[in-house]
């Protein structure tokens, strides 16, 4: 009897945890919030600081995740190509360093300097920004227009392991469309990635 009750209890608990999902975050068309987060140079950064931006390529990414590492050079290229056109990359590390020490602020500083990140690489201190956006993995891209309306959510492209074999550069296609005054054709894509490491 007690074993049976325990099983029922566990099933109930499993159901609860599965269904007690918080707000899933933004959908395409939602207006995104601004934030004030610390950059690897020690300065606080907000979207409103970018007076000339036509929009933003916000990428939740981090140091440790192999998928993030595989995309580092491509993220640098995106910024080099699109920041002059008004769409800078803003990278945000959503992970809690007590869970993933490789994603500490000091480690972020080292990585940014080793790779020469030309974009802001911000720490989501307190982990309040990534749940608002609804980021679930790294890397996870949110493209916003000038009014901070979400225009694209998803992957950088369709081949994480081989940049040369990419057939659909999703982020480039979306930003090119926005720059041409059109809505992106693909507005939501998925990709394998690392879970975001939430404080326990």
């Amino acid at each position: 009897m007690s074993r049976f009750m325990l099983l029922i209890g566990l099933l109930f608990f499993a159901g609860l945890t599965a269904e007690a999902n918080v707000d899933p975050g933004y959908k395409v068309g939602d207006k995104a919030t601004d934030f004030k987060l610390k950059n690897v140079d020690g300065k606080m950064v907000s979207l409103s600081d970018y007076k000339d931006a036509k929009g933003f390529i916000i990428i939740f990414t981090c140091n440790h995740c192999p998928f993030s590492i595989a995309y580092e050079d491509r993220i640098i290229d995106l910024h080099r190509k699109y920041a002059p056109k008004g769409y800078p990359v803003i990278a945000i590390n959503p992970n809690d360093p007590s869970v993933q020490p490789d994603d500490s602020f000091d480690a972020m500083k080292s990585r940014a300097s080793e790779k020469g990140f030309p974009f802001a690489y911000l720490m989501d201190e307190g982990q309040r920004v990534y749940p608002q956006y609804g980021a679930t993995r790294t890397p996870h891209v949110f493209i916003l227009d000038k009014q901070r309306v979400v225009q694209y959510i998803g992957a950088i492209d369709d081949n994480h392991s081989d940049a040369a074999a990419v057939t659909k550069p999703y982020v480039e296609q979306a930003v090119d469309a926005l720059l041409a005054g059109r809505a992106p054709e693909e507005t939501f894509t998925r990709a394998v990635g690392c879970t975001i490491k939430a404080k326990k």
Binding site: L7, L10, L11, H140, A155, D158, R190, V192, G193, C194
Partner: protein
């Protein structure tokens, strides 16, 4: 009270056997590599009364590696039952021989490991579960054409057992 002890002790034993297995040396494992999702897709379309437990993981994924002992324990617990446990590795193609195979040998994994290297994840993720964002670990259980899916990790062996059993009703 005794039940509580049972539930606590099993994962501890699993962890111990896991640690103990680290020292053993065995022959090189062979794993099937699927470069196209279509080749693996039938696994997710089974309509029979075997319970299929499919876990998506990678050797570089810390929470995945942490929960692997639960899947190994479940593999032992369900041996002789119509339950198949398949660990789908999403390791990078160039790390299969250098990293995945040695990992399987080192930990003496008993559950079947296959590798999915199809890069077009946006095409295949929704075919597995519409509500999967792509983060790993992720696990599905399927029986008699009914699928349950979880994005995230299991905190305990009991959680995994409850999840597997949830498809048996």
């Amino acid at each position: 009270m005794s039940h509580r002890f049972l539930f606590v002790s099993v994962p501890v034993l699993t962890l111990l056997s896991w640690i103990a297995s680290m020292g053993t040396i065995s022959a090189q494992s062979e794993v099937n590599v699927y470069s196209k999702f279509e080749e693996l897709a039938p696994l997710f379309q089974q309509e029979n009364d075997t319970t299929y437990v499919v876990n998506f993981w990678a050797t570089w994924c810390k929470p995945c590696v942490k929960e692997l002992p639960f899947f190994e324990e479940a593999w032992h617990a369900y041996s002789g039952h119509p339950v198949k446990i398949i660990l789908v590795s999403l390791d990078f193609p160039k790390q299969i021989d250098s990293r995945l195979v040695p990992f399987i040998d080192k930990h003496n994994l008993q559950a079947q490991v296959v590798v999915l290297t199809d890069p077009d994840a946006n095409a295949w993720i929704p075919q597995i579960a519409d509500d999967w964002s792509g983060a790993i670990p992720a696990t599905l259980v399927r029986r008699n054409g009914v699928t349950r899916f979880l994005e995230g990790e299991f905190e305990s062996l009991e959680d995994l057992h409850s999840f597997i059993d949830s498809c048996n009703n």
